[in-house]
Symmetry: C2
Subunit: 386 residues, 2 copies
Amino acid sequence: LPEAKDVARSRLDLLEHWLNDLRGVGLEQLPTPALLIDHDAMIRNIAKLAGYASSQDVRLRAHAKTHKSVDIARIQMNYGACGICCQKVSEAEAMVEGGIKDILVSNQVVGEAKIRRLAELARRARIIVCVDDGDNVDRLSRAATVAGSTIECLVEIDVGSARCGVTPGEQALRLAAHVAERTGLVFAGIQAYHGAAQHVRLHADRKERIEEACALAAGTVLLLRKSGLSCGIVGGAGTGTFQFEAASGVFNELQCGSYVFMDADYQKVLGENGEGIGDFENSLFVVTEIMSKVRSGNAVCDAGVKAHSIDSGVPRVHGRADLTVTRCSDEHAVIVDPHDTLVPGEKLLLVPGHCDPTCNLYDNYIVMRAGKVSDIWPVSARGLLM
Amino acid sequence: LPEAKDVARSRLDLLEHWLNDLRGVGLEQLPTPALLIDHDAMIRNIAKLAGYASSQDVRLRAHAKTHKSVDIARIQMNYGACGICCQKVSEAEAMVEGGIKDILVSNQVVGEAKIRRLAELARRARIIVCVDDGDNVDRLSRAATVAGSTIECLVEIDVGSARCGVTPGEQALRLAAHVAERTGLVFAGIQAYHGAAQHVRLHADRKERIEEACALAAGTVLLLRKSGLSCGIVGGAGTGTFQFEAASGVFNELQCGSYVFMDADYQKVLGENGEGIGDFENSLFVVTEIMSKVRSGNAVCDAGVKAHSIDSGVPRVHGRADLTVTRCSDEHAVIVDPHDTLVPGEKLLLVPGHCDPTCNLYDNYIVMRAGKVSDIWPVSARGLLM
């Protein structure tokens, strides 16, 4: 019998070979379920936010946790991003290997092995990391010293999400001063990301939350400045709120990720006049196939929770207002089909409920331009959690 | 710059190399988040169900959609499973390559390319597939004829889940007769899986649903027999209900999957006297690390929805009744820690809410025996959806 690991590896080889045969084919010929990018829609999204950030005189440090793709990170850099964000050391390692040289790990890095890898990575690229704990700062300092590298630190402040981050103000100042005293580290600014505000549905509610976040960030920046600690980076913002941070005069780096693809949940987040936020288009789809159509009123497709993440709700059927996904199990989704139009084998495009964890399910993107497959892109950092 | 696909491939190589370095280490040295198997607990689960099936004189065709692992499928076969179930053709291909020669694709296979692959696979192994549509049967027949293989078909009947499957009775008979007439196909029996009943909390409620399913299956088997169509396989059952199907005298193949690992949701499914079902143990864990402990009353760990699936609820913290996971985002989970015992870097074991889609997130299992890493097993069919 072959070794199980060789089976796994040979499956990946076969999959790659197989996907490469898809170049030039249209939607009807695609295997299902598969993860599709509408290339031109994605480029328009990337250009739109790049143009907006430039017009507001803030930098865009696009978040690669959404796509985990070296190809897309390179495009974002080509469109003027100052760098990218990652959430994990292993994600950052993949991006550095792919040629991205300015990376914020927008997270706490804990554990000796991870800290050592981060310090080693900082020899090959500009590496910035978030901190909210003095002992963690000391460990980063020792590792950077051993590696002969410099790690830049953002003191993360909690601006309302009650997740990571110290209290804005004095607590942030003490930690920033602690960073500034340590060898191998540079105090680079603050991280003030309000994750919990991104998906709040109403414009006015998001605005109110981000105004509070901006006030907390501004107060902290001022306090730090008075102590001689200047914030090169005041970072935060996501696809749901970036306009508020950009207009604040406090933030100078936006960390949007989902804008490249959008998803069904972000499309429920409304702009000032009830329109969608930021005018971004859906550019990410799961192509699925009807596998069973027995009962009147519904049909079953072949994309369940292993094909798209339902943590933020079920997917929407693209371009088919008559169809509604109601139930998802591991390998099936039930679609209400009131006019019984669906037939087995029929292809549909699903807009995933949540793009980030959906992309993390796939090894490859099928990239389409003008209705034909133009490229296969690996999800370079898929599964890299450590 | 390197090709993005080479970056992805080299990351997998590095990951494999890195994990192989873990042999012999204990929990405290593991990278996080990672997917852990308690080997001996898993073996006890496998032995327990194998013994039960044997004592009830029914076959066990263990479902590989849970673990997607060639290593575990081989162990299940060694413990007497008659074969395995898969949900996807690509999953079955990986298992055949790994030496498993008796596979039910417990699903409809639709789409010409998939049907062709299934027919080709049937040259290398016994392949059984579910059908609920006459046109699909014709396509399977043509593909098997072209491939020079034989595909065995189970007519799937809907026994209460309202997902796939024809109506029990006459409609099933018509489709079975249709299968029996086609070249390249063999009518092998019926599929009567009641997915919706598996997670129903109360014993009496599950019993009632499965008694209905058994009556529908029994009636269909009888009707078929009268028409000269004998059911070699009457298949169904999962971890939540297998005792009912096994005792029915109608079912002869059980298709349990989750019993190897169990999960937080299945542990809410209660036996007759309020105890857990089947006396299975948790053998699957996500090892996570506290990454932030700033606020009193809670802490944040590094395993979010990219590290475990929350489609059936948040994970449980193993062995720590004082801790409760409350919120999960992509790369974080917030843990209520009322006595403020957690410190950054501390390791915890999470019991995933739902094992199947959690396993599908990882490229490898870290296998532990007696508290040390004994093996790294690939999740052989990870991401194989097609």
